[in-house]
């Protein structure tokens, strides 16, 4: 902790020099929801707010799931006698007309699992039930979903399928960088995602767009160090994508994990909340494994999707709005009664700001 305090002092000193040089505040984006939460929890945001503004990005998997996909999942729970198997965060995300939580109260079966492996064990134990796992996440959890399909395939488990909604982070970074209205001086990149993808794939941020980026871990020390390394680049003039999470992240990432992703998934254009369609940003099951594709196995009827009036989750995810600038924040939208997904998920920016009173 003493080290953190010393590091904090150094960050503040350096940030003052950078703001003097630039003549304005520095805007940094933490792309990952886990970073947002860790930052809020540590109280760091307010400690550096004189010189640095930290903005949250599209790094919460539940939050970036498009409303039309949320509605599809809810319709599936309502229209088919399946067991929806999901990570906990998804249960309370409001769709256009309902949520899994409400469907569960009405009799739908929704089970919370911490990993797809558990869902496979559940499917084995309950051969008469149809288990549908909600595959929501980034490169970090995609390999586990792929493994579960491999398990189902190899063990002849027929009553297991997946709604494949996994997304890829590099394409959304490009979408952010192509947004002319976005003013960000540097990016803190998601450590967990990079353990799979590796550092190199993010090189384009600095090489093509000349914006510094640092891959960061999740301890306060990691985050402070990443901010320091970003600030240093404003001085040195050498813009790079630096790996500061070397204890887990390698240049090319995790070969085995990437291989299994490629074996089971192909990339497709997919919709992100707040962004619309982003080319090649979604992981869809390959035709060889179509049997495990829940969307193919169960057809659903879904009405038109819409967001509740005033919900600014899209703007929050694109780094355009701080959570507390949303007119609903803390008023009609609270963790107890969430209007948008960013207030639901434990990685959601609105929930982090609200729960840790970071405003």
């Amino acid at each position: 902790m003493e080290l953190d305090k010393k590091l904090l002092k150094k960050v503040i000193e350096l940030s003052k020099r950078v703001t003097e040089k630039k003549g304005r505040k520095i805007y940094l984006m933490e792309v990952c929801g886990t970073h947002t939460t860790a930052i809020s929890k540590s109280g760091l945001r307010s400690l550096i707010s004189d010189t640095i503004e930290l903005r949250s990005g599209p790094g919460c998997p539940v939050c970036v799931t498009d409303q039309s996909h949320v509605d599809k999942i809810i319709a599936l729970a309502r229209q088919h006698p399946v067991v929806i198997a999901t990570f906990g965060d998804m249960v309370r995300v409001p769709g256009t007309h309902s949520s899994l939580e409400r469907e569960r109260a009405r009799g739908a079966q929704v089970e919370i699992f911490y990993s797809p492996h558990e869902a496979i064990l559940f499917a084995k134990k309950n051969p008469r039930k149809e288990i549908v796992f909600l595959g929501i996440g980034f490169e970090t959890t995609a390999p586990a979903i792929a493994m579960s399909i491999a398990d189902a395939h190899n063990q002849g488990i027929k009553n297991y399928s997946v709604v494949a909604l996994h997304k890829s982070v590099p394409p959304v970074m490009r979408a952010l960088l192509d947004d002319e209205d976005l003013h960000v001086d540097g990016f803190m990149l998601p450590g967990h995602v990079c353990t799979i993808t590796g550092r190199k794939i993010f090189d384009f941020i600095s090489s093509e767009y000349s914006i510094p980026a640092v891959i960061a871990g999740f301890e306060t020390t990691d985050i402070l160090q990443a901010i320091y390394l970003l600030l240093e680049q404003f001085f040195s003039g050498r813009v790079q994508t630096i790996n500061a999470y070397t204890r887990l992240v390698h240049e090319e990432g995790n070969g085995k994990a990437k291989k299994i992703i490629n074996e089971f998934f192909e990339t497709v254009d997919t919709a992100w909340r707040g962004f619309g369609f982003i080319p090649d940003s979604g992981f869809c099951l390959k035709p060889d494994y179509a049997y495990y594709n829940a969307e193919k196995r169960f057809s659903v009827e879904v009405g038109e999707s819409s967001m509740p009036e005033g919900c600014s989750c899209g703007d929050v995810l694109r780094g355009k709005m701080k959570p507390f600038h949303c007119p609903l924040f803390g008023k009609t939208c609270t963790p107890a009664n969430p209007v948008g997904p960013c207030m639901v998920s434990s990685e959601g920016a609105c929930a982090a700001y609200y729960n840790y009173s970071d405003w």
């Binding site: 902790m1 904090l8 540590s42 109280g43 945001r45 309370r92 558990e118 729960n355």
Partner: protein, 341 residues
């Protein structure tokens, strides 16, 4: 169905008030709970009372799983009610226990639970003087639910109330936080970790009685069950009308709890405890309270974790983070872990 099978599990007939009900009472409950009040097996237990103020509390226990490291639903049903009495400044005198059991529940598990309840009661010399058993059909309840009601008398020395809390008072906990909630989660999800997370489930009446008899500066107490330290501190702050400042560095949390909660994205400040209480103590008695607590097995990790301050009257709770920042704590919203007690 042969006799061995009928002997293994609870049948609907065990709850119909007939022969099997009687056998259940004679064979499972009475030998463990035996005391002069219960033995009469009349419709209600009669008992002598004390003059002065009495306290009564009731609580239902539906924890899932029913057996967890550090306890089980039986021990929890005794401790939960005893602790509610204890933090109210009451000495527990009598307990009642009511069981709702699912058809097909193994009798061997019932026996384990009853033995565990009886053991906890014996340790604190508390008789279970009345009880009831109902059986519901398969699927109409999940295994077993227990409701306990506790009666006690308020100790002469206990003068506890929100109105005694004043700025400058110290906030103390008797031990590490988050253990119960996390142990239930880890057990339920069958995570395989190297270290077992053990619930803190324990009766607090003994240690609390000692404190109350010795220190008049003990102004308020609360057991930190559902909602954890943060939610309960917030409730106290709002009711007292003062702010509470907690210091993250001083809050005792086991290393393994810290590690696993970080991994799972949980906040130990919001996890339930079943043998941990918070007390607000006048500054002059704070060190003495800690000294006494440290000598007791249930207080060895005790610590002064914060202070009451005047504030604006809204009753805010602030956490001074290890980094030196501060954040406001609010009540737990939603239920990340249902059926923890």
């Amino acid at each position: 169905m042969n006799s061995k099978e009928t002997g293994d599990v609870i049948l609907l007939a065990h709850g119909d008030g007939g022969l099997l009900t009687h056998q259940l009472i004679e064979k499972y409950f009475l030998p463990q709970f035996k005391n002069r009040f219960l033995e009469t097996l009349t419709d209600s237990a009669t008992f002598p009372s004390k003059s002065g103020k009495m306290a009564i509390t009731t609580d239902s226990f539906v924890v899932d799983p029913i057996f967890f490291p550090g306890g089980d639903i039986g021990k929890l049903a005794v401790c939960g009610t005893v602790n509610d009495l204890a933090v109210s400044g009451a000495k527990p005198l009598y307990l009642t226990a009511s069981f709702i059991i699912e058809e097909g529940f193994p009798l061997s598990d019932l026996k384990k639970i009853v033995i565990s309840m009886a053991k906890t009661c014996r340790e604190i010399n508390l008789p279970i003087i009345a009880g009831d058993t109902k059986v519901v059909g398969k699927g109409q309840a999940d295994k077993i639910y227990i409701t306990t009601t506790g009666v006690g008398y308020i100790l002469d020395e206990a003068r506890l109330g929100y109105n005694r809390i004043k700025p400058g008072d110290s906030v103390i906990v008797n031990g590490t936080i988050g253990n119960h909630g996390l142990s239930i989660l880890v057990e339920r999800e069958s995570f395989r970790f190297d270290t077992a997370i053990i619930s803190d489930c324990a009766p607090l009446n003994g240690i609390i009685q000692k404190l109350l008899k010795r220190f008049e500066g003990i102004k308020f107490m609360r057991d930190l069950t559902r909602g954890g330290l943060a939610t309960n501190a917030k409730e106290i702050a709002v009711a007292a009308g003062f702010d509470i400042w907690l210091d993250e560095t001083d809050i005792p949390i086991k290393k393994e709890v810290k590690g696993i909660t970080e991994m799972l994205g949980l906040d130990p400040l919001y996890l339930a405890n079943e043998g941990t209480f918070l007390t607000v103590v006048s500054n002059k008695d704070a060190e003495g309270v800690i000294q006494l607590l440290k000598k007791h097995p249930l207080g060895k990790d005790s610590a002064i974790i914060g202070r009451v301050s005047k504030g604006k009257g809204d009753g805010d709770v602030f956490l001074k983070t290890q980094l030196g920042g501060s954040r406001r704590l609010s009540m737990l919203t939603g239920a990340p872990l249902p059926r923890i007690c």
